[in-house]
Symmetry: D3
Subunit: 196 residues, 6 copies
């Protein structure tokens, strides 16, 4: 598939977007493709990352969440695999490996989360996320019960659903526009102890 939507260069993007990208580059060592690919439409870029941050780094918007950073990435990797989104599975699978310090978990949840080496709490979390991902119209009161039993509050459940919904958006944009993951992601977090 050809690249129909070429990404701008760093020089072409507005200053606020450029600043964030440089910050990410400094931290990660490279610029994840999504940052430049979406920057061709600055207003959408700003909304996308504002939403992303509100859900994925709730502390930056003054909110706490009962989900760990690793659990949030686990939701992203699992539901993105259900949507067959190459970019998100590879990029967020990498972050998941790093946060959870488990080099195998990303491949496990991407292929079949039912066989993954995760806790029963995480399994319940992913069951709910997958229902929101694939059959949100069937979500009912009974679906909240198993999550409550594992200690998730209704606010935590909102997080699970909203992360799933947000990356469902991300998956569709990445797939239709043929966004490719950076090669760096494929290896990140696979070697247990890596030092810069």
């Amino acid at each position: 598939m050809t690249t129909r939507y070429p990404a701008p260069t760093l020089e072409q993007v507005p200053e606020d977007i450029k600043a964030r990208i440089l910050e990410v580059q400094d931290k990660a060592g490279f610029v994840p493709n999504v940052f430049l690919a979406l920057a061709r439409r600055p207003a959408e870029w700003r909304a996308f990352f504002a939403y992303h941050d509100a859900l994925m780094t709730p502390e930056t918007v003054g909110r706490e969440s009962g989900l760990t950073k690793g659990e949030r990435e686990m939701i992203v990797t699992t539901t993105s695999a259900a949507n067959q989104c190459l970019y998100c599975v590879v990029a967020h699978g990498a972050i998941l490996r790093i946060y959870e310090k488990k080099p195998l978990v990303a491949d496990q949840v991407a292929v079949n989360y039912r066989k993954a080496d995760i806790s029963p709490r995480q399994r319940a979390m992913l069951d709910f996320a997958m229902k929101v991902c694939l059959r949100s119209h069937e979500v009912e009161d009974a679906d909240f019960q198993p999550l409550h039993e594992h200690g998730f509050t209704d606010e935590d459940i909102w997080d699970i659903a909203a992360i799933t919904a947000f990356f469902g958006l991300s998956n569709r944009i990445a797939s239709f526009s043929n966004m490719q993951p950076n090669p760096e992601f494929f290896l990140m977090g696979r070697v247990p102890k890596e030092k810069k």
Copy 2:
């Protein structure tokens, strides 16, 4: 299904959000439930409506689109029906009727867009939107061809895909949280000539 996520009152929301809600109320005559329902999480509210505006009112972000206002709502109504989202089908179906000045079209596309009284160009637009909605991982170069033949540019196609993706997010949040459409929406735009 019980209301697990009660909406704040207008008094409880931050000033910027309150201002926008009052503006909407002034224009529509009532406050669509989504505005208060999402306001319980201000950061997400702001990102949601920033994204919404960037796609649905591109002129507010300095961008033009080859899609008419009615076509944008037609995408929302059709794909929200595929996701069986009660709130979005009813609310955006109402807006679609008003913009297109066709009192029957919303029900037509919601039940079966293939039988709707729309143009071949709109049919091609909805075929693509439905593929992004339901099978985005299968979108390929060949899917762009029929849209080009109807005069859609690649930027227009980005709009089709992004609107579909954004309301896929909206559908999932509305469904999981049991958001109900305001009764006012059900009748809006059905009587050909209504005057305030």
Copy 3:
């Protein structure tokens, strides 16, 4: 889609069919398209409406049913939406609104009956109807239990299944032949108090 199967005029149909159509016209104020569309084949017309009446107005064949008139139309609207039949959703949705005196209920069950404002008894009824509609081969003894708990007898359950099956037939004929609902249906029953 072109009209491949033009409807006869009222003058062209046999007398018994004409009489019934005039009766309907007198009552409804217009002739629902299905009456003329099917009249091009009188033998099938007669069987169709005989079957319709036996199920939808059981009192006309000397039978009582535990389903209300509104519940019968609710089954039709919900399952016709599952089959994406434009004619039946619009026409029977209109009748449903009138019988139930609930202007919102038809849109609710058509988009997602799980989110509709209906009784638990009606929810159980629709769960069963949807299973007969979509997966009749999987119906088993256990599916009757929830209906019995809500007071439905086995005869009532036959009604639920037979109405679903009959309109499954109707849905397929209307869709394949591109039958369009009369414009009058779209607004019927939406304004709470309408007087002739």
Copy 4:
């Protein structure tokens, strides 16, 4: 599954129904279960068989059809298999074998009509019937073209669709009520030359 809807005895049914049943028994050598199973509701019985006859023996209602008797049964067997209806596959598979004088064809179309020993014309007929059976909402003008190429008229196509739709009704009633085929059907038409 228990028999929740016991069939009446021949003595218990109205005279007109009894007369038809005796006629069938005389011809077939036994009473196919559907005749008594449905007779518990005489009005539905009469509508069902009137519809059946209008489609399956068009000459009895003064109509000709471009489909052979065998082709009509082939549609029933194939679509009933798609609906996994035990009664209809076995009963109409038997009649199909007899009409087509092909002892293998019923099993072939029931398991996978794409691998059956049938003509290209019949293959096109079954492709259309299966679309009406499973995805009638997607039928479009383009679906009529291959049928025209094989000599089917629009009236013949109505027959294909209506037979499929009618037996979709029959399949659902037989499955939900657990109607079992008579043992006699399983062997009928399998031995090439059988004489009474």
Copy 5:
């Protein structure tokens, strides 16, 4: 579909394969097509029938199984019908009729095993087989419980799964290569008492 992969003649196959085929011919009265169709690749033939025998005649490899011969064929017929494999449904349906001495059972399980005249134990066995056939990635601990309740050991369950998996392979090869069942199979076991 043309025959793209012509079967070798008996003279063309290696001696060990020929010996087995002659043995089968002697017993059955004809050579089932699978034996010659696969013989065009001797190494695959040997592996295929070695696997077949290890599962279907465990006594030949010094193993006992809690499944009867009829139950093994019942699994093959039911899951092959789910895969719509003409060869396997017809061939193994014939063997099933003979082993179970029930002339109706093969058609019953092929059309809809839920309506078949089988024991609750066999129903549980087929529920598990169908899950392995269609959704093996969802098999979990809870799926073993109903089988244990009916007396199946974990080794018996391995047999159910492995037979399903092996014939899933067989189904795919037979379907893609258009393997046709011998006419003899269609009638085998249908007449209660047949003598050679």
Copy 6:
């Protein structure tokens, strides 16, 4: 999921199986779990690996194939992902990376082969493999045409189908028995130049 089917130790398996396992261990540096997991049933083990070798190393049975070793593993990885088989995706994805000398390709085809960096010939190969995997009953003459255009012979196509079918068997057994991939596989072939 508990381990219901414990693998034997190397000491417990028959000599011929042990010899092969030691050979694999010597070459790979570890014993892939499938070798011991299946060895609990020696007859099935022997048939499984005989079939495996006949398809995956055709030169060992005196046959040539138009598929490269990498292409064979690409089929396995892609179709095993469709079946959500954790063991096979991880183990064969590793081998695929090594054979193709492309560290990214396994993740690409496992998530969405349509977006993978592969040749048009390989894309056609995988389209066919996926059809055999998911809808083998729909394979028809027309499906062979694109493969011929890319230079695949009918014998090569048999290889594609048979590899898909064989690993469909493998997927089902691995999933139902909860076979876990060795940790070594996850990293294999990801670092471009690795030396022993």
